[in-house]
Amino acid sequence: MIQEFKKVWKHYTIGILWLLGLLWPLMGIHPDGTLTFQKTVTVWSYILAGSFVCLMIYVMKAGDALKFIATPASRIAGNIRTFATALPTWVWISATLIFALAYPQFAGRYGTDVAITVLFYICLGLGLNVVVGLAGMLDLGYIAFYGVGAYTYAILNITYGLAFWVCLPLSALTACIAGCIVGYPTLRMRGDYLAIVTLGFGEIIRIILNNWMSLTNGPNGILGINPIGIYIPIFENGFTFEHIWVKKLQFFYYFALALVIVAVIAVHRLNFSRVGRAWESIREDETAAELMGVNTFIYKLLAYAMGAVFAGVAGAFFAARMKFVSPESFTFLESAMVLCMVVLGGMGSIPGIILGVIALIALPEIFREFQSYRMLIFGATMIIMMLFRPAGLIPAKRMGTRSEEKEG
């Protein structure tokens, strides 16, 4: 145990001193020019004490002093894992579905609101997963297509009074066209260059939304968008339909849930199709894919446009939910956020992305009490997650599963 401690104490000391150096300018320098040390040292000593306890636990674990706890704990963890894998997939799916369906009944207004945001981001994450996870193209301007979808519905609804269900396919179409327009010149690039160019195009679309006053009303945004309207049958006097607006959050939640279910099924089907295989071959080795007869350009464009379609559809729902759109909702930060969700959850894995979205949306909500420190905690959680699960929370399953299909 002493030996273990000797190994790590140097790093620990350097780290904790570095933290002090980082904390003091943040907490000790005040805008009026005064310098204080009291508060910094207090906070620092808390962190020191906390991290020292963690360090001791780590050292004890490394020195086998915690065997009496660790052995049963790992056995329990192992049991849980075997139990989880023993359950067939449909059990998981139906359990998730039942939970999702029942959720608004006990969650309350705030909980439902957060859940709707989660559902939007799941749809976005699944779309980005097609581009990044399957086709392997790093897209940093993805949120622009979300904006295109949202604005399409907003503008068509305000100017022409078109209903949501008419605009939904149109939103998908315009996002798809935008994807092709952006993709056509950019997809000739690879890797880092592609990332930079998509970042640029994402910003261009946002700036257009911001400056095209006559069409988009600029930074003021568009107000008064209609929510989703549906017809429900009434049986009271004969058989008639009544038109109602979906204004209640709980009601809207189910529409968002339906959107996500459709998206999950679509991505699942794509993943297992010939097209999905082509995308993965492009991700693995573009030249080899070309030699095997995959038209890499067309398939890359298809992936890009497909991702844009998902974002466009989600955007239309977003506009219907918020009844207001403005360019501020579609900044680079949002793109980065969606990308984080995909990477954190596990590229190419649908349950992983769902979990990643929940983690990244729910965590800041849970830590809301910590106020300005919540982003710090958020960052730390992400670093820790990436250290311990570099392939994502639920890495994409590869071996065996996919190859069993239709084998003779």
């Binding site: 995959v294 038209n295 071996m399 190859s403």
Partner: protein, 240 residues
């Protein structure tokens, strides 16, 4: 054997930007042959194959495949014509399973039943791939990866197979296996093979004819056996 060559290069120039790798290279391959291209590092062997496949564009000269000019045919169309390359360094898809790699070889084909049959056939030809069909390509050993790369190319049902350095980085016993397989493909499937190799001795033993490439040009062309006996070749490429 028909008189029309399956592949003919006439005075082909190509390169990477200002670097000219091929300076007027001409060669012809007749149907059913195994032809070897040998040469030193950087002589332009791999570039020759990449130019045939259109990955590197030919700046000048003509490439005919079965009498059809294929200079401007895009690379992904070539497998449909029956021309496929096993690229240097194997370049299998590392995170896809063996099975998926093979299915990608049959990408342009729509006949699912026939594809499944062909996959079974390649498992028979390469039993090790059958054992590892659900393993990721990247976890295979070098020799197995080479076999996978060849099997994947065979899934395109090629009439002409281009092989780039199949012996690269492999143990001698594996190399022998690979060359046995190449000979078998040529004999059993009737596939014409154009082989690029640094290991001149092996290549010329397997081939019926050989070309020697030096700095982007063919300097010598002969029957493989006479090349093997050629004192100049023995000195330059066989280390005697």
């Amino acid at each position: 054997m028909s008189l029309q060559p399956i592949l003919e290069l006439k005075n082909v120039h190509s390169g990477y930007g200002s670097i000219k790798a091929l300076k007027g290279l001409s060669l012809r391959v007749m149907p059913g042959e195994i032809v070897a291209i040998i040469g030193a590092n950087g002589a332009g062997k791999s570039t020759t194959l990449m130019t045939i496949c259109g990955i590197v564009k030919a700046e000048k000269g003509e490439i005919y495949y079965n009498g059809q000019l294929i200079n401007t045919v895009s690379p992904e169309k070539l497998p449909t014509l029956g021309l496929c390359q096993v690229p240097e360094g194997r370049r299998i898809f590392p995170r896809l399973t063996v099975m998926e790699n093979l299915r990608l070889g049959a990408f342009y084909r729509n006949d699912t039943d026939q594809i499944m049959e062909d996959i079974q056939h390649s498992y028979k030809m390469f039993p090790i791939l059958g054992e590892r069909k659900n393993q990721q390509g990247g976890t295979l050993s070098g020799g197995e990866q080479q076999m996978l790369a060849i099997a994947r190319a065979l899934m395109t049902k090629p009439k002409l197979l281009l092989l780039d350095e199949p012996s690269l980085g492999l143990a001698p016993i594996i190399v022998k296996q690979i060359f046995d397989i190449i000979a078998r493909i040529n004999k059993e499937e009737g596939t014409t093979i154009l082989l690029v190799e640094q290991n001149a001795n092996l290549a010329l033993q397997a081939a019926s004819r050989g070309y020697v490439v030096e700095t982007g040009e063919i300097t010598l062309e002969d029957e493989a056996q006479s090349l093997l006996n050629n004192p100049k070749i023995r000195k330059a490429y066989l280390g005697e």
